[in-house]
Symmetry: C2
Subunit: 355 residues, 2 copies
């Protein structure tokens, strides 16, 4: 038994397919009588419109795609959650595509999106603007969230990683720490590079000595790096890790070594993933409202999509910047802040330029 089509419904209701379409889409006027007959047939056949066929006809898919590097950790899942909320609010479906190892793979993914989505949010670091224009054929609305690319002329959202790192270091300096080490992220990662640059910049500005150690954003790498740090001479009195997971790994390494945080070594992370507030001591970190950022990105994509159907639309090439804010918990030596899930924080700001 195959699925019923609009034609089956039309036959059973003794009307034309057009009428069926009218009652189902709500567009066009229909007699109450026909409406009733159609609905009866729909019910009897348990007919469900074929959205693929509808898409082909209307050239709208009511679906948006998200291209991600991977699905690991809380960052991306929170982001997707935010996007999903906004998408649903607009009656849109969400199709996720992740784990693209290289540019070719990512390009293939993006090409396969044609005819499947009305717009795209791209976070994959392998996809720069050139890559996109080459693989996108028509002008599918695309929102870039993969950092860098300030010059692409495409709408984008980026995190102020340098500013966040500077804020972290400045806070540590203000608290009196002087030997501040850094654990960096993966070599090729842009965000990691920016955070490290901010660290170096701020440390030098304070007249201190930078000390960078390698990590890869995993908790394990933070653990390894901190263990090595503790064995080395010239042990630091504070650590700024390029993300929270590494900071937590460092925290555990400290505990295992019988040292206390922040008394012996203070620790600051980046991202403020949910776990950060749950470890002890609570992790001081740079907060990004991830879900909210995802929601905001989706809202913006929706606007982009709407604009493409307008004749006189002003092309949006705005680059938005998300400014992380410092959340102070116990891991950096402020025992006065020890509430359950947070602590004091600098005022939030989310600004956009050029709009």
């Amino acid at each position: 038994m195959k699925a019923a089509t609009i034609r089956d419904v039309a036959e059973r209701a003794h009307v034309s397919v057009a009428s069926v379409s009218r009652v189902l889409t709500g567009a066009g006027a229909v007699t109450d009588a026909t409406r009733a007959r159609v609905m009866e047939a729909v019910d009897a056949l348990s007919y469900v419109p074929h959205s693929g066929a509808r898409s082909l006809s209307t050239s709208r898919t009511d679906t948006v795609g998200v291209i991600l590097p991977d699905l690991f950790g809380e960052f991306f899942s929170e982001l997707i959650r935010g996007m999903d909320v906004a998408a649903r609010a607009h009656g849109l479906h969400l199709i996720v595509s992740s784990s693209h190892d290289d540019a070719a793979d990512a390009s293939a993914a993006i090409r396969s999106m044609r005819g499947r989505v009305d717009g795209l949010i791209v976070l994959s670091p392998h996809l720069d603007s050139a890559n996109l224009t080459g693989n996108l054929s028509g002008r599918l609305p695309v929102l870039l969230m993969n950092g860098g690319e300030a010059d692409s002329g495409r709408p984008s959202i980026a995190v102020d990683n340098v500013g966040g790192a500077v804020a972290a270091v400045e806070h540590l300096v203000a608290m009196g720490y002087r030997r501040i080490a850094h654990i960096g992220g993966p070599a090729g990662n842009l965000e990691a590079r920016e955070r490290q640059a901010g660290y170096v910049q701020a440390v030098l500005a304070a007249g201190l000595e930078p000390a960078v150690h390698n990590g890869d954003f995993t908790q394990a790498s933070g653990h390894v790096a901190m263990t090595a740090l503790l064995r080395g001479r010239d042990r630091p009195d504070a650590l700024f890790a390029a993300n929270d997971m590494m900071a937590i790994g460092a925290l555990l390494a400290l505990q295992e070594a019988g040292l206390r945080c922040p008394d012996d070594i203070a620790v600051v992370g980046f991202d403020d993933v949910p776990i950060a507030a749950l470890v002890r001591p609570g992790l001081t970190t740079l907060h990004i409202d991830i879900a909210e950022t995802g929601r905001h990105a989706m809202e913006r994509l929706v606007r982009l999509i709407a604009a493409t159907s307008l004749p006189d639309a002003v092309p949006d090439t705005t680059r938005e910047t998300i400014h992380p804010r410092l959340v102070i918990r116990q891991s950096c030596g402020s025992p006065q802040f020890s509430t359950l899930d947070g602590g004091a924080s600098a005022p939030a700001r989310l600004v956009s330029n050029g709009e």
Copy 2:
């Protein structure tokens, strides 16, 4: 400038659309000469096939849908990650649909999937088998993962919540605890109900007194419940929470009250989300390899989809059961197990009946 169609390519290459289709799909023999001309045109126009149109023609979408209750917490994100890996391995796209508040909402979601996906994995508790058959029209392959429903005759995967809870309580009893309290999950939640049932059953079997308190799966509710427990008379010496987040909330409440875990009160959770290994003391809990379960579910759905195109396919109505395994960490009084990320555990088992 609109996106190029297969016809544009055909014109530019001076061949028929059929030939273009042949070189692009790989099906059918083509001269090297024509192939070259077509490829040239494809390149020049940066043509990308319209997957929607292709789907309509082939009646395959190469996309699978996942219906979830929500996207909160690490459980669902890990599950999706596992599914995504398997889906990609089979060249399938993943479309996620979540946050359905009620049955009507969920039904609408599932209906809108027709013509959009080749198969569905359903975790939404609002969708029982009757609901599905009513809204599915044809016979779209569906894998159920929403518990209960053992009688539906549909392929499904379920977690042995009762068995897990029994294992947790038995372990606590074996460790010498006698006043074992429970914090349950949301009222309507089936999994929560099963875990509670297992708890009550095991406690009674041990000749002890059950003591159930209310929670809603959030960390905050665990915190509240534990705080209340501590204030009450007849304070328990152990707690079994219906999930990890509540267990962690309870853990924090203990710390704030100046009590020690497990010395004053032991705590056991359920799920083994990644955080569980990172809190201190490490949380003893029931481990489910979430990502692996997602991967496995997707593999099974792929098989279901493949079977529908076979004429003599044996309908799969198997109900698989995932058995959680107890992971012993420090929170239940086994300080001898104190590695970084885990601890000893009972042997894993994943069995299926009826296959």
